[in-house]
Symmetry: C2
Subunit: 280 residues, 2 copies
């Protein structure tokens, strides 16, 4: 596995592999890898891609009072996991390699970026889009893999790629859950055992909603959301949002159908967690 | 010369030419071509590029009260000029080919976009950056050619390319002037003979400043700007700005030196005109 720290090394490697007719698959991450990330890499490898993973904790997507400084990092462990997953290359740039000292350019997907997560994390998605645009230009992949766990991110990146004509297929991959049902996330490490027990209420609520849709054929979004909120409120956590939306535009829907999703966020102590149920 | 209307045709042609080891040169224009555009094409051809020109009057970079509807268009004449200039291909997309019906993504270079032209044309440079990002992703050129005539645009695009890691060299080309000294511009056609006479005051002021720098070694920006403004105010035109700035960041400078410029804008009747003097 090639370990690359410079953009120029990435370009060189990609040119070499592309001249060998390799399809370039790209998995952007912030490191502290978990089974969710590994499922993206597995999918890229199964698709036959020369698979490049990036590890970069992007300062631009954290708000001033958010967890940029304490975001978990463990490069040694990440490299070990990447080798085991047969990733072909990893790009680990420094902050200085990624951002010049007077970075002024931002990519923003209006409207979609202001809803749900965006209303709790202003500027977050502009940071995500900007770093993804940069990484897409550095790696110039044929495909980029994103998890449904961060559904709004996936939807916004897919819109950015379409609107700005990036020549990249965005490949969505299903959320991976830990044994207790919690959606895999690097931030799960913040949870104390007690907080973790409380945090499970979000996946439990989504599971209940899924069952109502599947087995009771309930499609009334208000009913489903009401039931989900009731479950979440039974636990000592802060419900930030739980909404049934159209996946393309994140507008609220009245009825659950194909291409809608139920997206939620809770706060357990200081830890924000998101999860969702996607009807693809 | 290949005439392409679809993005997919552009990608196909570029892939073909790149596989033949051609360097791809790109000249984005809004059409109604003049000697300035032709000098960009000439430069690209002289650099040995497979030269692709785009013609697209970009609605996104016009304000609601600006001249999008009446912007001059003459595709037949443009195609004739491009053939004579030995352009290799021209991309003429429709509005629908360029923008999907729910375009939401914008690229903005903060700070630089708010100064000078930006203060008179809010949103203009976000429109320019967004369409250039799209065109860069469609054409994926090795080099893109921009005229110093639109100095702020050139500086902003160069900054966007650097900040977002587009793998493109931006090549600046000197302003072309008509016989009477007026900087070549598609908008010159708006001027009545009387307005044209008045409009010359801007290039005359810049010429006087150039002479003071060259022959009298004046480098005091205030002195030079004062003299320029005096000349412009002697004519029946509206001075919008005349500023001596650092070319990299568009901050005002006290002394003229390498990498500074004097940028000006006037309005003659309803016609806005810009011009500048660049110390490269």
């Amino acid at each position: 596995m090639e370990i690359l720290k410079k953009k120029s090394q990435v370009r060189e490697l990609v040119n070499k592999e592309r001249s060998k007719k390799q399809i370039i698959g790209f998995v952007p991450t912030m490191g502290y890898l978990h089974q969710g990330h590994l499922s993206l890499i597995k999918k890229a490898k199964n698709d036959g891609c020369f698979t490049i993973v990036s590890i970069f904790v992007n300062p631009l997507q954290f708000g001033p009072s958010e967890d940029f400084q304490r975001y978990p990092r463990d490069t040694e462990r990440d490299l070990k996991l990447l080798k085991e997953a047969n990733a072909d290359a990893v790009f680990i740039p420094s902050d200085e390699e990624m951002y010049n000292s007077n970075h002024l350019t931002f990519v923003n997907v209006s409207k979609l970026s202001e809803k749900l997560e965006g209303s709790f994390r202003p500027g977050h998605f502009a940071g995500v889009c900007t770093v993804c645009a940069k990484l897409f230009n550095i790696v110039q992949p044929d495909r980029a893999y994103f998890g449904w766990k961060d559904a709004q991110q996936l939807i916004i990146i897919r819109k950015m790629v379409r609107d700005l004509d990036f020549n990249i297929s965005i490949v969505p991959v299903a959320t991976v859950r830990e044994e207790d049902g919690l959606a895999a996330s690097s931030r799960n490490v913040y949870l104390s055992p007690d907080q973790r027990k409380k945090a499970l209420v979000l996946s439990r609520a989504l599971q209940k909603i899924e069952q109502m849709i599947k087995f009771e054929s309930v499609i009334d979004a208000n009913l489903l959301i009401e039931e989900g909120k009731k479950i979440i409120k039974s636990e000592d956590v802060e419900l930030q949002y739980l909404e049934a939306v159209e996946l393309e535009n994140l507008e609220r829907v009245e009825k659950i159908r194909k291409n809608t999703g139920i997206l939620g966020a809770i706060k357990v102590g200081n830890v924000r967690l998101i999860d969702n149920l996607i009807m693809e």
